[in-house]
Symmetry: C3
Subunit: 320 residues, 3 copies
Amino acid sequence: MSNYQKINQQYKGKDIISLQQFDTSSISQLFETTKHIITQLNTNTIVPYLQNKLATLLFFEPSSRTISSFSASIKRLGGVTIEYQNPLETSSAVKGETFEDSIKVFETYSDIIIIRHFENGSALRASNVADIPVVNAGDGYGEHPTQALLDMYTIHQRFNTLENLTGLIAGDLLYGRTVHSLLRGLSFYKGNTIYLLSPKRLMLPEKDVKEYTKLGLKLIQIHDEEDIPKNCQFWYWTRVQKERFAIQEEYEKIKHSFIITPNLLKNQGNKNMIILHPLPRVGEIDPRIDSDPRAWYLSKQMKNGMYIRMALLSLITGAL
Amino acid sequence: MSNYQKINQQYKGKDIISLQQFDTSSISQLFETTKHIITQLNTNTIVPYLQNKLATLLFFEPSSRTISSFSASIKRLGGVTIEYQNPLETSSAVKGETFEDSIKVFETYSDIIIIRHFENGSALRASNVADIPVVNAGDGYGEHPTQALLDMYTIHQRFNTLENLTGLIAGDLLYGRTVHSLLRGLSFYKGNTIYLLSPKRLMLPEKDVKEYTKLGLKLIQIHDEEDIPKNCQFWYWTRVQKERFAIQEEYEKIKHSFIITPNLLKNQGNKNMIILHPLPRVGEIDPRIDSDPRAWYLSKQMKNGMYIRMALLSLITGAL
Amino acid sequence: MSNYQKINQQYKGKDIISLQQFDTSSISQLFETTKHIITQLNTNTIVPYLQNKLATLLFFEPSSRTISSFSASIKRLGGVTIEYQNPLETSSAVKGETFEDSIKVFETYSDIIIIRHFENGSALRASNVADIPVVNAGDGYGEHPTQALLDMYTIHQRFNTLENLTGLIAGDLLYGRTVHSLLRGLSFYKGNTIYLLSPKRLMLPEKDVKEYTKLGLKLIQIHDEEDIPKNCQFWYWTRVQKERFAIQEEYEKIKHSFIITPNLLKNQGNKNMIILHPLPRVGEIDPRIDSDPRAWYLSKQMKNGMYIRMALLSLITGAL
């Protein structure tokens, strides 16, 4: 994995494939740019750093949230898009074209490519073919770097640091793509303690526990909501992913193992914490929580997704 | 239904959910704005009242006509769009997300939301969740306010008034969404007489007859083309909607009950009238009528749809 | 076929339906405009000849390559688009609307219509209905004029002439739409000799051989790769189209009859030639060829598609 091109404070022209390309310095730079964008959006609905640029969005996997977040990011930067969802079904791929040829074709028209794919490593393959920047919008069980960056930005926005934090990550820790990315991101910073709450069937794999521990995270596995310590600064809750279960009944039994209710929040929470969720949620957070000022998932966190993508796109195209 | 927020000459920031929010004064204001837009389009292809604004079009029901009319309206106002058709099939909704959460997500990226949905009341639900303006582009059997407004504008364009008119509404008066909206709209004005021509199976429901009569319309039900009075100022013809019939044969038997032919126009029409149709038509109007100067359905009426939407969007975003 | 409106050096306002509308003079004009656009794109990502124009793309047949090439062309000209793929499935057409009515509706919103359809002659039908320019992006087994023009432009780019050339066209000469268009285009110029290499099952129909011969092309049919003369200036390779075979086994037997391998290129090629392919390819060109400087299919040829479309759109809208 060390073959990813490091950013090293030079975003311009880089592909964004994996969180492993980042370090605390390039993340700081990204966060500063994000703040700059947010400031400008206070007085303008469009900040034209992608003016006259054409971005192609290739989503080989259904999506509404991520594609619309990227699409809005590009348009709020004054850029234009070409967008294809499920190109496998409606395109040359049906006729038997290789993935690499498809990428070359779309590269022809574009200044940048955003790709989501159902196979691990697809974004890297695309970046190896294309001479223009490629951004990974999620590939298989693999990486989804912009999601991790927006989660980290949101936590940083609240506590002004990503060091010496205590947090909880709950739900599906086995399949959850965002969980793995966030843990890796937090491991860049020192002194972080993360409680991991999951059904036994969906625990973080042992090899990941080892890896992130080695990278400096303190990980504590718990299996009961009552074991959530009261000093957590954030709760990062995730959905149990139905699409990962072959047997429907197994999913039904497990899906609502852990739910944030007003009661849980009262008993185990504290007044300074924030609650995050990568969304969509399917019942893991009681809607009565939504109006709580600590509920950042439907407001700040979501908006930060657009902001961080705007910053990233401005940086890799060299506009900022 | 009295809970709809009245416009009261203040469009800016308002949701547009139902025709019931309007009155003769707000309609006049809208018509004036529409005329202003049309005048400007005589010399420009774009009038930039939505410059730098991002509109999200969420169409939970298949559509090509309405979505393209709204999309063109926004683009001819210099705005940009994010568009999703059938988001239920290709999105987070598949994963079990609630309608309310979906709206909150799209609100994050948008300055305005245009929604079409297959369920009555969906647009109102969306507007209750979102802090940005929501426009109803048709929900279920319910409302489709911009269609009624464009129909009214077209009649007004011809006769320079919406009072003391005599008109004919023909076809499916039971299920036709546009019929109900137009009747309501005409009931805002005094002295209107409407002939209703339909197969007995598709008559305007008795409760609606009562309601609109109470509101001031004079309604006269007829069941034979020969009973169309010769002094009608407009004929508003509608399609019998196949999708409302469980039994196909019943549809086939009834679908062409009433057809505008050159002969019918000659026998029952007059030289000052106009012919309208919400489209699509499926045989109710003989194509030989298309070149008649009284046939406004494929030309003026359709174009007015774009114009009235441009005016409405300019008003609720505060640009005009 | 003589009923197509000739361009005669007057592009403005013309429909582009068939290659038969062109002659050497109008093609020269188009090529000059294309060069002009390319020059400008060296210093700008957008050249605003379609600024404030709205183009509607109606693709009644699945496509990703052609629709994205047109969409990018329009956007790189500063124009905006409304795009519908498979409108038959998601639109008023489902409700039984005629093709002609659909075109009239979309015309309402648009400054130009780009159409692809599965039926021969559809683009011409659309152009007969619409008062705005209509561009054929491929209809049935019929015409695909912009593809032929980009192929010709690419050959011209290399040899600075379209006269007195020797070339090879290989693959499916029976069904290949692009093959027929290219042959017609080359027949406008004198002194051209074309070798035709195909399985016997997929030979150019006898009537076409006669027609193009009568128009001035020298056609030589061969059936063995070893018979390719070494002095060809271009190889135009095509895909055997799976979708044209009722019996799958027949397709499998024939699909890889002829493949460009490094060996074939070494034995039958020459150093000045170029290799073209309309794409997608499904194995007819060994990927090891891709890095050869003579391999123009994934780079220059593809880019020229966007350029020639930009030039054509600029001309018919009167911007250039």
